[in-house]
């Protein structure tokens, strides 16, 4: 198995951080790279949407939403009963794993491109769709359907979170402008995509490694959960992909969406909605364990699983 160069950048960041090299991207640059990734992924999906009847996708969007509700419901009892976490912490971690990681998704796209495997190109739509239900489920798990919850503020913080909005802006403009957008925006958004991802992953490696120290604090269960749960979730994703009749490439991406955990939109939303939850726990799991696992081991593993399952 040869590693994709973008994954090497991630590993390099991880290693130099462990070696205590004093490197971090300026935060303005980190934000810039994130913005570029989000808009570009959105644009790509939008352009593809412009080629089909959006109406045809409504059923599939419903199925994907269902998956977004199912995964946190699967994670919660494991965390609460097996992991002995406090209710609010179990709910918060469940919300993170029900949602998705754009960085991991992008690694999946890069993987498919390297292997010349095509995929249903409206997948970014599902990326947007999956950001939200998990947050709602998480809050309900933590609080019940309590009147106390400021749903308006919660909606503001989650639906209108920067990352979701940027994906959506890209999706919409891509859809409205269609294929011709490629011509004018290629050199800035599309062509440098993998390079931008590489630099982004270098920084994410540094950040992920800085979370590793916290593992000692939170114990082995979290480590196990962060590795085993994504694999389970990926299989859930595969079943849903099968239900929707996705291709091999599309199946891999849905598996990745299922297996990945949010470390941007959800932490911010949960911090507002469930302040009593310990943000260190969920971030260590999603960013310090699951993200590196998925990027390095998970993506090719899920691909193998999908190949076997689909008999391709």
């Amino acid at each position: 198995m040869t590693l994709d160069p973008v994954v090497m950048f991630f590993i390099a960041g991880f290693i130099i951080s462990l070696m205590r090299v004093d490197f971090k991207l300026p935060s303005a640059i980190y934000e810039f790279l994130s913005i570029m990734l989000l808009i570009t992924i959105g644009l790509k999906g939008g352009i593809e949407l412009s080629k089909q009847h959006v109406g045809d996708l409504i059923g599939d969007v419903g199925i994907v939403l269902l998956m977004g509700v199912f995964i946190p419901l699967l994670a919660y009892p494991i965390l609460y009963l097996l992991g002995q976490f406090k209710r609010v912490d179990a709910a918060s971690i469940a919300a993170h794993y029900g949602s998705v990681s754009v960085g991991t998704y992008a690694v999946g796209v890069a993987f498919l491109e390297s292997h010349h495997v095509s995929y249903e190109s409206h997948m970014p739509l599902y990326l947007v769709v999956l950001e939200i239900p998990a947050i709602v489920v998480g809050i309900v798990l933590a609080k019940g359907i309590s009147k106390e919850t400021n749903w308006a503020e919660m909606a503001q913080e989650s639906f209108l979170a920067k990352s979701i909005v940027l994906l959506f802006v890209g999706l919409f403009i891509g859809w409205a402008a269609g294929e011709k957008i490629h011509l004018s925006l290629d050199a800035f958004f599309f062509a440098p995509f993998k390079g931008i991802l590489a630099l982004f992953l270098l920084e994410m490696g540094v950040v992920a490694a800085s979370q590793v120290g916290l593992l000692k604090k939170y114990g082995l269960f979290l480590l196990g959960f962060g590795i085993v749960f994504p694999v389970i979730a990926s299989c859930v994703g595969l079943v849903f992909a099968d239900l929707m009749g996705l291709s091999l490439g599309g199946s891999l991406l849905l598996m990745i969406l299922a297996a990945s955990a949010s470390y941007i939109a959800v932490p911010a939303a949960v911090r507002i909605a469930l302040p009593e939850a310990n943000p260190g726990l969920s971030l260590t799991a999603s960013l310090g364990i699951t993200f590196p696992f998925n990027v390095i081991v998970g993506v090719p593993l899920y691909y193998k699983i999908a190949e076997m399952y689909l008999g391709a």
Binding site: S27, Y30, E31, I264, R271, P275, G280
Partner: protein, 99 residues
Amino acid sequence: METITKIMMTIITEQNLERSIIHDLEDLGVDGYTIIEARGKGDSGIKSATWMNDTNIQIELIVDDALASKIYNYISDTKKYDNYSMMVYLSEVKVLKRH
């Protein structure tokens, strides 16, 4: 030098809270403030400003005694900020009269 003695109230907290806390402060009657980006370390760990969710802000409020108490009471009574990392301290400043 003609000056008025005021209280400088400094709040160091998570950047995530900016919108919500400024909103609350304005409700309490604050009509001037200064915000500075900061990093730091405290009971809730290191805020290294490496990435988005990991930054502090330092809010500086020049207020009179009455408003200072009001904000103080609000912050200590409300449970809202109990679970956030936040450090609040006061000092005395003399504000120059200009206009």
